[in-house]
Subunit: 304 residues, 4 copies
């Protein structure tokens, strides 16, 4: 397939001025981003990279990084992980404390904040230096050692993240948090502050399209079964309260972040990342959703 | 692929005595069913039918019929349908009134009871004889004119269905029901009482694997886009509170019913139905889930 | 005390044009009422009646009648009644289905709609002609045989009362309703449609200030203990989500209705009713609340 | 009245071995208390003190101290206080985060934990040394300078109080907390750890029966209106989810704590405190409830 032609078509069709949403503003660092930023990168083989626009510029990947944390926790915990966090869609705004109250402190899935906080607890409990190991993993997946946390984003998240701190304390009260609160939220807010580009993201997520192996080196990071589990989770839970819509419009497993990034994979075919900071009402990149919808329409490839 | 060999393997592996769940008991007619019943039918072409066990015996398909009702409503309403019912997973027990209270009477998707009741309202409002048209559709899809409602099941549902009647009244109070309550619940409980076999179901669902067309006649029942929407909905919402697990274990769009039936489709490849009345804790056929998991493992085919 | 002087003062001070709320509009019959209507009647002995304004004009007493229904049910059921309905404040909007879902179909108290529907079920189950017996009771308490249901209000309630019908069905699903739905809602909507005047109401409620006995005849309708229970319930649950505020502002047990009526009693002293149709945000008569607050301030009498 | 005779009767009638509840066990310090402890003290004038049993032994007054904190905050904030905390019963378990989620971080009343945490925020914000000022107030009200925090109880509360810390963080996220979390919870857990006797408590609460003035010195601590507000709040919200029952059984404004203490007042008449550590299912002292019910029955005095 001539993916570059498809991407060029998408680039021409999309126009950020037609977009009706807004850039995320809950922390100043996200509000500062130029709303016109737009980039996309599709990766489907070692020498097969297609892109346009701001595809090599770093942005705050926010919740997308929850997939990396989940991959780390699955490796450590195996099937025991699912006693601590469930695998079902949440059907509620992504921060809901009510659901935790109903379900005894077990988050519905690893991609809602409560779930990622339990994952953070596990990593803090089991690893000597979880932040470094997270960086090591992401750098290895992308073969890019410059990837790092954005300190300003981290500080901003920390100074406003009372709802997440509330959730950790609440789950600790309910018995589903082992470590002290401080190192957990320190790790969690660092996790949210990872800065990467579309190019990086599409390379990193290629393991999910490649049965758990790094394409370039053939190193197995996850088993095929673990990879399938993560893909299924991205399909049903990767888009806050818009997973059903994304499943229909795009039809690929993926994960979005409030920084305006979305990454999706087509198993055995490609990994693709897109970035545009303007968000729709459900908190997903408005242009990003459209761009991916166009991609699966133009290529005729979706899982459905 | 030698599908018959795969089915034979599955038949040998599964043993209902290892199963820990129970037959549905909320109405006497379901409780009476022999728990040892087990059948499966895979359909992938006009002369390509593979099966074992009780695959031609009729059972109460229950919620599986919600997919037929949805198909009828999509044809009538087009995109306007989505103002009356949303397309996101529910994340709550399948009967929850709380969610309706939160979301102003708009059900989260057409496969929870509230959603199917709104669909019923639409069909009652728009069709002269919705029950007959439902039968006509199902008979056409299966080329089997003997398919009918099970009157005993219907009566039993009616006499105990206060929760569903509560939901219709509640949504009427919230402005999302147009017709009188009586004809809506009459249609709804008939819908739940459809009796079909695995063979019938796999034939009927073949349209969802065939871009909306009946395979034998090439007649288009749904557009490709409508078909994609239904498949996406089955993927994310087809299994009560176990959609995430099914998505992982089986990786195909599908729909289950408390009668113990499950039907799933692999787009462009096949349609498969399985029946075993014993349900797991989440209300899905325990053996049915395992059989489908084995099928995608043996064939190596899932959407992930 | 010179109650007439106090009432005259209140009449002079109150001015409906300073009021910011609105007349109830959920049924046309209530919306039609002249918002300037204002009357008050205080009764503290056979020849001791004090009043002003529209105190002898009938209005729709709405939820105030739930106290009569409760009195009838307490007489029939004794202490067993409290297995079917609790005695605690609801802390939620007065129609909430969520609370029923949490608490297995047992309403929190007899004055929320769900509670009054359970009371209605009991009366329909136990009495030959509950509507007539309700009228008989109210006529005996007031010595006024003209008191009756307002047929227009009844019809209007019936034609819009889907939420209440939803609640009966829901509680029937949860096992806390015995009779058929139809006679229950027929009784309930009649109950809501009772038309009485301030004079009637203050006379009828005198039993709650007189340890359960009709003042004029000394006939015991309720035991002192039953009377105490009802008074305690009016104190904590009589004003939808404003019981705490009324308890502070007025400091007397009482009950309000969305028709704009409020009746309150001072144990061993008096019974007082006030009517002004304009409601505050919480559904209680705005002028009525103020008038009663002035009464307890001017007399220096409250329970606190 | 011969109060001593009534108390002696109560002392004889009550027998802790008939009690079916359990001592609070959520912190070790409370679990250690001898379940047979039982004392009562009624105060109705400078030389009028009546008592029995362990009435001079200190115990952990727990939530009873929320009334002192409320009195302090009312003095500081006046009517503005009610923008930060409401005055209605909660109708939910006393720790519910769900209700905060519904109502935008405004607790329903000052006696649920969330409400007392907002009160704590106000005191920490407005006072130089809130813990000392709390002690000063309580010592002045009782004329007993030995009253102090129980350090062991404080430490135990701190080390297990994740749910309360969650609530402060959550309300901070919702904009209803001004100060840092640490000093708020430090004050709050100290507040919970106050140790007092029945004698102390009945003396301290005499201001609520005496229109806001200390009986011995005639010093006004609260205005009559503030006193009325607190009494109304104790009446409707003072007993977790048993305010309605207490209102009926006892019919006096009061406040309980999970340490097994209850204090109640009869306006213009007396203040009474009782202590027995065994709690009923709703978290109130089982014998304490019974003792107060007997008191109002024997004296014939309740507000109803």
């Amino acid at each position: 397939m001539d993916y570059q032609k498809f991407l060029d078509t998408i680039n021409q069709e999309m126009n950020y001025r037609d977009v009706t949403g807004k850039v995320a503003s809950y922390i100043p660092e996200l509000a500062k981003v130029d709303p016109r930023k737009f980039g996309m990168h599709l990766h489907c083989g070692e020498q097969q990279n297609y892109s346009f626009g701001d595809s090599e510029e770093n942005f705050s990947i926010q919740s997308i990084s929850k997939v990396f944390a989940l991959a780390m926790a699955m490796e450590i915990m195996g099937e025991d992980l699912w006693d601590r966090v469930h695998v079902e869609p949440s059907g509620d705004p992504f921060n809901s404390l009510t659901q935790l109250e109903y379900e005894n402190g077990i988050p519905r899935n690893p991609f809602i904040n409560a779930g990622a906080l339990v994952i953070s607890d596990i990593l803090v409990d089991q690893l000597d230096d979880p932040k470094q190991e997270l960086l090591d993993l992401v750098r290895k997946l992308t073969d890019d050692d410059s990837i790092d946390f954005d300190k300003e984003v981290y500080k901003s998240e920390r100074s406003t993240g009372y709802r997440n701190i509330a959730m950790v304390n609440y789950m600790k009260a309910l018995g589903n948090i082992k470590c002290d609160v401080e190192p957990i939220v320190d790790f969690y807010f660092h996790l949210c502050s990872l800065a990467m580009s579309c190019k990086n993201l599409s390379h990193a997520f290629m393991i999910f399209a490649n049965r758990g192996k790094i394409l370039a080196t053939d190193e197995e990071i996850l088993t095929p079964l673990q990879t399938k589990r993560i893909n299924a989770l991205m399909q049903t839970c990767g888009f806050y309260d818009e997973a059903g819509e994304f499943s229909f419009e795009v039809g690929l497993p993926g994960k979005s972040g409030v920084g305006g990034g979305i990454v999706a994979i087509h198993p055995s075919k490609y990994s693709v990342a897109v970035w545009s900071p303007i968000l729709n009402k459900k908190g997903n990149s408005e242009l990003g959703m459209k761009a991916l919808e166009r991609l699966t329409s133009l290529t005729g490839l979706s899982v459905f």
